[in-house]
Symmetry: C2
Subunit: 501 residues, 2 copies
């Protein structure tokens, strides 16, 4: 960049910094709302958040933004980071600008109403109350796709919003391979003679002790408590106000040790990612994960591949026994098996590591059908139930445990679900490379040397933030295109041992 | 207002709402920084707060603001609230605009540096390290007074910033009357035979139990926990994000029950005020206390007049004994006396109800002298120590427990201290009227009927927010001009009984 361009870039980053400051403030308002806020504060908080969001939108879609983007689109010697910065801001600018402002406002109002309608429908377990809203949301999304344009399948455009470069063609291949493998493995497990005793995890565990264990593990994993904190909220989540203040929440269940424990590890995986992002990316808009799916790959890697491995607990089990004398007479093997029970279930968020992806694939197939007009909203409950029957062998007895269980669609998030399963796939593919780079990795885990894993993730993935698209990143890290093969291999290996297949 | 003016007012309130939303967000950022933030978050948080503050400043001093103010200055049928709204926003606008922007920036940088220098000087107990900064701050304030203009004494302009309508003439009268009375009463107490045993309060009190007691009392006082919460921070404070989310903090001392207890009650007084402000004042800029002094009158009323009264503890002492068995054998009388010990001391924030105002009067006299050129910064330690000797009969042995103890001046707050003593005076004057309106008030307190007090404060003071200036309010509520007579009377009565004078 010549001098003029360099100065202009400095200015532009100041401009982006302002957006990031407002995002940081909005995130705190949101965090506080979930963790601390007294109940009467909600109405005004909504207004404050609404104002900040509107200000952010203004800055992201302003003429100033347009001028900067036009200027830098003509500069041809941008380095990798700045090239990515301009590309990503431009994408965001166009996503917003191509939709007429009136449409966008209507849609915002619609999703707010739809969320309320969903709550009501969910409480009453009655899809028909939500149906008219969902119909409108689907119609809007179809219209948006026309505004944005599409290549190949219409659903591609929505997928690309959340997972750049992912297409229906790719997902059809990957998900059908995965689905077949999962259904096959699940069948074998159903016929296995091994019965796992989960009751060891069902007892009265005090919140204080659960918190103690979560903190101990998080600390050891590499989560920096001087740049974060652990709190409680109804739904566990991770939120960063900047890379030096990334907070996680969990939710304690006093009758089962697992939910809070694995939520903490899961959110810890997200948070470590955010804490590791290079500080140089402040003011570029790239100080975030590469995508929702890549972010999920980190949380699921920590939660499942690491956090439900025998080696992990070989290291931690002594600590567990110190805190909870309930496990005095429980063997490590039983403890390990108890956290790896596979059991088809109806609710995605409670699903085990194996069946989880099937829940996601069902949603993917439905979304694709809705956007392409192959499935109508009014038929959703039947379509839903039939797919559960087919893939998982069980059927919801009502809408609440079926089609109404998630609120993503009410919020207008269509195209987002696949990222959850992609997270598993990315995670296993990364792990495969990690094992090549660190041949004695399982020994290291047993010894509690999580530093070596954290360092690998930081250097190969985390520090880059959103500089690379998911497909660029997976190629850069593993040398291969995205493939489900490592995830399938991993599951087959792990569960063949556990279930003696 | 005609139709045009009404519409314009609606627009204007939308504009003010935006300022209030940003203030609400900034307040949460600040609260979180004191209560929750992990230590590495501080640098970025400073930037976010800096950005929001700058945005607020821009909106408060914009041409849009100027146009609205000019428009409404010409409308002559504004009602009381809107008249006050325009007056108050205009005052604020002019305070900001009359200072050249460059000067203001310089001053902001100076105070940031001065705060750091004060911290260093305080840690080393060496005034000379802070002196050059304070000299500059005083010089700036003198210059500001010239920009802003003044009537009579130059210090009037600074007083008026915090306590509209208060002048040196008024304060000289009021404070000299108060000072004489306090010094006289203090002398008698020093010569009293009554010795109070404070040791009953010095024990090991768990944080959990202290919190339990604070919450119980706050709830009963009328603090709405559905519109607030109690947390811990190093320095206790109250902060509102809107009237339905007003939070307080306290600081637990495990060796003395009193500090956290009375901080909680004090902050509760502030918070109840904020919670009671009429919702109609949203978007007027008047949704705050009438002044810093009036705010302090509410906190001190609850903390001292109510919270250190025999009647208050007649009601609560059973609860205290239930929570702390340490008081099993302590009589109510001893408990009451133990929280009303009078003892000249060096540190303002730790001072008792009686001597507290003397600390403030000393600062008032010094500030007045500095701004009028009668006292030089370099002589401050001697001036300070001499005044402590004269009014309180004790002398600091170093700067840390003397002139360096408060950081108000480092932050550029000159003219603010008097509000602390005015709070006591307002409080007693309000209370005098309250006793006339509720003749059996002491009976009501003994029965724990704090509702009647809360209601009186709400209807007479709280709900009006900042619609009235402090002098308008005191006149409106009590029918009299501000006078120290009721505060002096109250102290004489109370302490004559306690110390058998």
């Amino acid at each position: 960049m010549n001098n003029e361009a360099q100065n202009k870039m400095k200015e532009f980053k100041e401009y982006i910094n302002k957006i990031e400051y407002l995002n940081s403030a909005a995130s705190l308002l949101y965090w506080d709302m979930s963790v601390n806020m007294p109940k009467k504060g909600v109405e005004y908080r909504g207004k404050v958040l609404g104002h900040l969001t509107a200000e952010i939108y203004k800055l992201e879609t302003s003429d100033t933004m347009k001028e900067y983007l036009e200027y830098f689109s003509k500069i041809d010697d941008l380095d990798e980071v700045h090239k990515s910065m301009i590309k990503s801001l431009k994408k965001n600018y166009e996503l917003s600008k191509k939709i007429p402002e009136e449409k966008f406002k209507e849609y915002t109002i619609l999703t707010t109403q739809a969320e309320a309608a969903w709550e009501d429908a969910y409480a009453k377990s009655d899809f028909s109350l939500f149906q008219p809203y969902l119909e409108k949301i689907v119609a809007f999304n179809k219209e948006f796709v026309e505004y944005w344009g599409y290549k190949g399948n219409k659903y591609n455009t929505l997928l690309d919003k959340f997972e750049e470069g992912i297409t229906v063609d790719k997902l059809d291949n990957i998900f059908s391979e995965l689905r077949e493998a999962l259904v096959k493995l699940l069948d074998k497990i159903k016929n296995s003679n091994v019965k796992i005793d989960e009751s060891i995890f069902k007892n009265n565990f005090s919140k204080e002790k659960q918190e103690q264990l979560s903190k101990l593990i998080l600390e050891k994993m590499g989560y920096d408590f001087e740049a974060g904190r652990l709190d409680e909220s109804i739904h566990p989540f991770t939120i960063g106000f900047n890379r030096k203040d990334v907070r996680i929440t969990t939710n304690y269940c006093d009758k089962d040790l697992r939910p809070a424990l694995f939520s903490s590890i899961h959110e810890g995986g997200h948070a470590i990612y955010d804490q590791d992002i290079s500080e140089e990316l402040y003011g570029t808009g790239l100080g975030d994960g590469a995508s929702m799916g890549v972010h999920e790959s980190q949380s699921r890697f920590y939660e499942n591949i690491l956090g439900r491995s025998k080696e992990f607990w070989t290291y931690f089990y002594t600590e567990v026994k110190k805190i909870f004398q309930e496990f005095k007479d429980v063997s490590l093997e039983d403890f390990y098996r108890g956290m790896n029970v596979v059991e088809p279930s109806l609710i995605r968020v409670d699903a085990d590591e194996l069946t989880y992806s099937l829940h996601v694939i069902i949603r993917y197939e439905i979304e694709k059908g809705l956007i392409n007009g192959d499935i109508e909203v009014e038929n959703l409950p039947e379509v839903w139930n039939a797919k559960y029957k087919e893939y998982l062998g069980i059927e919801p007895s009502n809408d609440k445990e079926g089609v109404l269980q998630d609120n993503h669609w009410a919020g207008g998030m269509i195209g987002y679900f696949p990222s959850y399963a992609l997270g598993n796939i990315y995670g296993a593919q990364f792990f495969n490379k990690m094992k090549q780079d660190i041949p004695d990795i399982f020994k290291q885990i047993e010894k509690g040397n999580f530093e070596v894993i954290h360092e690998w993730l930081k250097e190969n993935i985390h520090k880059y933030g959103a500089v690379y698209t998911p497909s660029e990143l997976i190629k850069k890290v593993t040398g291969e295109e995205l493939t489900a093969k490592y995830f399938i291999e991993y599951l087959n290996n792990k569960y063949s041992k556990i279930y003696n297949l």
